[in-house]
Amino acid sequence: MITLIYGGSSSGKSAFAEQYTYDLPEKNKYYLATMASLDQESRERISRHRAQRCDRNFITLEYATGVDRALPKVEEDSCILLECMSNLVANEMFSEGEIKPADTCVHEIIKQVQNLSNGVAHLIIVSNNIFEDGAIYDEATKEYMRALGEINEKVAAISDAVYEVVVGIPIKVKETEHENS
């Protein structure tokens, strides 16, 4: 089962995703972190997220790329919160010197998502809405936006539930009978 949680920057999507995962029946809860702690701002964001989930018994796993490598470390009846897709796409696309094409990124990341989803009871994915500022960007940024946009659509298509979070309020935009069953 897959749940996608989508929203803008500082929309409250992480806090909602953590609460949502915390409330799931699965006993073992993993937090799959994709953010590399390179600069001060990233470190501050990471520590804020850590504080948010400190009393919730999440086990943190960190993979900046190739997130399905986490599978050997998790039980089949567990749930994984993947935070977040926008970082994973950036890491996959830009971390090896030259820019990996959007199509390759989409293919590889969807494969990782499917592998993760097949290996656990419930996969929760946090992803970003970066598409509504109307600005014109350089080719590399557009390639990144294409990849993230397509991944968001494909993940939404295979998700059992999709939420959009606005000012901290979750709006359910897709539901199927499977969720919470």
Partner: protein, 110 residues
């Protein structure tokens, strides 16, 4: 307190004025937050000022959703986006009603 959010030029003000006739309006809340940030105020100071200014009477706060874009290169722009987002989450949690306006149509989300 009522909060109305949405993208820019979505008809938020029109929606608010026609639906909340006897209310007081705090429009462009995001720009107020930006101005205070430029003056060096912190997130909690700005929130406190907003709550103090709207504590008497029926207030409708109107704000743009500014977080739905590519991460800005400029650090102040990133800070503005993050702090505006977090303040609006606080306002929303204290509001009795929250509306999101798209194409002039307000959807009640709380």
């Amino acid at each position: 307190m009522i909060l109305v959010v949405g993208g820019s030029y979505q008809g938020k003000t029109e929606f608010a004025r026609s639906n909340f006739v006897n209310a007081k309006f705090f429009n462009q809340t995001h720009l107020f937050i930006r101005k205070r940030l430029e003056e060096g105020r912190s997130q909690s100071e700005i929130l406190e000022e907003l709550l103090e200014a709207t504590k008497d009477g029926n207030w409708v706060l109107i704000a743009d959703e500014i977080g739905n874009g590519v991460v800005p290169i400029d650090s102040f722009e990133r800070k503005y986006r993050d702090i505006a987002g977090r303040i609006l989450i606080e306002i929303a949690s204290r509001s009795t009603e929250v509306y999101r306006v798209v194409l002039g149509i307000g959807q009640r989300i709380k």
